[in-house]
């Protein structure tokens, strides 16, 4: 491979590395920002629900017997098509059982241990979790004695966010490719311009050296040498040529075997 493409390729590898890492960092930032934004929206919805439930609990009604919760959950789910389910589980006395849910089949089932642990944490304001098909946020339900008595969980669509994230990935990938293509072109031009002196010097020197080998008049001489390297070469060539001439003369006289 010639010098120019070799150097160009190296620069392209570096550019590809830097552009792809930057595009990936941007993509990850979008992913986390979108997720935070959507999550914080559902935390707001969850907080509304929490205030309503805690209002009942503060009146002394046990969580499992609070009548309007099921209706509240249904209303919340209906308010946003991205909400897949809303559930309330208890801690004290109910051992992490799901007490209310927009999915009736879940009522009476045990809540995941991680929900219960998160709700029981003293400093817990909200927590989040990932499932295969959904993201979720949870909020603890606190009674008048500032003790957690249960939790509220909202599960919302993962597909919605994933669709947006995938589309952003494609868009960022496309623009990174365009930038890379332009940078490639500029890199090739730049390297060609900067390396032409070295490349042409060596091409001229090699051509002249070949003519020396073929016993022809050298193409590069002290008269037409331009760069310091060519001047040095011309000097070398004239001295070497004297040695070669002696040897060739000896060869012509039959003093050196032809095979050599």
């Amino acid at each position: 491979m010639k010098l120019t493409p070799k150097i160009s390729l190296t620069i392209l590898v570096i550019l590809a590395f830097a552009i792809s890492v930057t595009a990936l960092l941007n993509y990850y930032k979008y992913q986390s920002t979108l997720r935070e934004l959507v999550q914080s929206r559902f935390v707001v919805v969850g907080l509304d629900l929490k205030n309503a439930v805690e209002g009942s609990v503060s009146l002394g009604i046990p969580l499992s017997q609070t009548e309007n919760i099921q209706e509240l959950l249904g209303r919340v789910k209906a308010s946003d098509e991205q909400i897949l389910s809303a559930e309330v589980f208890g801690i004290a006395g109910t051992k992490g059982i799901r007490l209310f849910s927009t999915d009736p089949a879940n009522v009476g089932q045990a809540a995941p241990a991680s929900w219960v642990t998160s709700a029981e944490k003293e400093d817990s304001e909200s927590w989040r979790f990932d499932e295969d098909a959904a993201f979720g946020v949870g909020l603890p339900i606190i009674n008048n004695f500032n003790k957690p008595v249960g939790g509220i969980v909202l599960r919302y669509s993962r597909a919605y966010q994933q669709g947006k994230i995938d589309a952003m990935f494609d868009a960022l990938g496309r623009s990174a490719l365009v930038v890379f293509a332009i940078a490639c072109g500029l890199a090739f031009i730049g390297v060609y311009v900067f390396f032409r002196p070295i490349s042409s010097t060596f091409t001229r020197m090699a051509a002249s050296l070949n003519s020396l080998v073929s016993d022809e008049a050298p193409t590069l001489t002290e008269a037409n040498a331009e760069t310091p390297a060519e001047k040095h070469y011309a000097e070398f060539q004239s001295k070497t040529n004297k040695v070669l001439e002696v040897l060739r003369e000896a060869k012509r006289d039959g003093l050196i075997e032809a095979k050599d």
Binding site: I14, N26, T33, V45, F202, A206, I256, D260
Partner: protein, 697 residues
Amino acid sequence: MAVNAATPFVGPIRARLFGLTIVLLLASLIAVSFDALNRFEADLVPEMDKKAVAVGQSLTKDIQRALDYGIPLDKLVGVNEFFNVTKDSHAEIKYLSVTDTAGNVLFSVGDAPGGMSDYVQSTMQPGHSGVVGQLLVTSLAVQPSGGAQPVGALHVGVDQKFVQKKLEDIIFDVAIVLLVALLITFELLLFLMTTNISRPIESVHRLMSKVEVGDFRQTLEHDSRDEVGRFVHTLNGIILEVNAHYRNMEAKVNEALADSSEAAVQLRKKLSAHFFQLHDRVHTAKDARPEEVREKSLVDVRTPMFIFIFAEELSRSFFPLYVSDLYRPVPGLTQDMVIGLPISLFMLFVAIGTPFAGIWTDRFGSRNIFLAGAILAIAGFVGTGLAPDLYHLLLWRSLTAIAYALITMSCQGYIVAMTTKENRAQGMAVFIGAIMVAAICGTSIGGVLADRLGFRVTFFMSAVLSIIAAVFVYNTFQRRQAESTQAPPKLRLVHFLQLLGNVRFAALMLFGAIPAKIILTGFLFYLTPLYLNELGNSQSEIGRGMMVYFIVMVFGTPIFARLADTFGLRFLPVLVGGILAGGGGMLMFLWDDTLGVILGVGLLGAGHALSTAPLISMVPSVCAREVDAMGQTTVLGVFRILERVGSVAGPFLTAFLVATLGSAHAIAALGALVLGSTVLLGLFFLIAGTKTAEEAA
């Protein structure tokens, strides 16, 4: 980068090439990030609007409840306090207000954007959104339950620049990518320029100069097919031809000399005419086979060293966190000490392994020892990544430490072998430069990788990089290494005892070198990742924070060294460096958040950049007698080993301090330790002087 002077026209081309790459990198990264910002804004603003609606609905519900109790809208109490809580809970919400049906503002928090009153007058549509100044304002109707007429409106103003501000967070990430890309660019281009251009051109020039004076005893080993390669190929052909013809002719002369026939006499005359024209002018290889030489370069050692240290540094920003994931109680040690244990053990094995690695390098050659070290490193990284518990981790890290000692010593051995006493410092500067640049790149990229791929996968990537370094050395290091011009010193116990008997040397170790290593491994390597994690920073952010130390070191060390040389200062930079490093730690007393830690790390870097080289250069002057007796290399070798006591003790001491004082105060205590020892060092040398009266005389 070759030891010999660069050929004149290579330098400007290299500079232009770096310039071109930097400009292209900057322009590309700015273009990619600018495009991303525009796309993010277009995509995220509707999501922010949805959130504003959700917040608005939540607030209107509470207002509605009050209205349902019959309280008029303008008589509501505590609305602003209530709004303030909401505004403070959501970073993007900058303005909240309630207006009556006439558009009069009844309650508001945050700065109203210019044109808000016009907006309020023009719209009372529930769910309406509009851009007012810098804000995207969403309005919702405020009305009692049961479908009553609205009595007012709630306006939620969201900062339109929120997305942009979010993106500003990654400017640091992008800047780091740029810095790392530039440093890697430098390494790659350096390698490429040296192997393909500088070295062959220099070699060609050297060979042409030899041939010019009739020396045809060498050819060049160069197997590329580019312009330079083709030229070298032809040049080698001419040299081979001259050798073959000359030897052929010489053989014939000898034959003719042995033959006394008339034909032989004639032939001899003819041959002599030619042969003796060349005899005094041409030197050929004895067996007509010129030696094939390959010019060595420091890049041969710099590049694999860079790759290996990069691999090792990938885990720097998360290693203590990884250890805490594998924590298992160890009798007699606190949890903090157990977390510090693998770092201390690593330092211990490096310290123990280094002298042996030096001896083995001399015996088996740099290439073999590097390759052996690489095999151990690969096993060590894979084993660390797979470690099921702490004890396995300790085993694999110890193995990696031995690998580290083998690899660094083999590289040093290679440099010693290819340099002379005069240019060895330049060679070692190349070596240290590679380590520091790799530390910058490895620490930051390691953090990003750990964030995205996890701790274990990052160790596997280190193993892959070690394979690349090994392949590199396999291809570039010579099998038969040239012998060093200087035999390496053999360290003996008596050397340690003699040096420690010199009270000045002992003071320099105890109050200067060892505390510097304690704070390095204790604060930077052990506690910074743990504390930054405790403060809620991501792995990328931790990597970024730690990298500040290496950046300050890389750029600060040569500047401070030059200043110290210019003004002939040795002791003052050591003192100022100690004060800076100690002050960096003590900063935690005042400023114990993320920024404070990063500033402390930066000050530690500045302190070490200032003091490391002068501290080492003080050693020969405080040990003039010992240098005369055992040689400077031995004295410095003892110094290097003894200072590692600090590296081993650092994590343990810090763990003890953390258990007693907590993380922030532990860092501050380390700072106080360094500051205190620096003061003692200053007082000691102020009273005792840096030389004995005898030495001074």
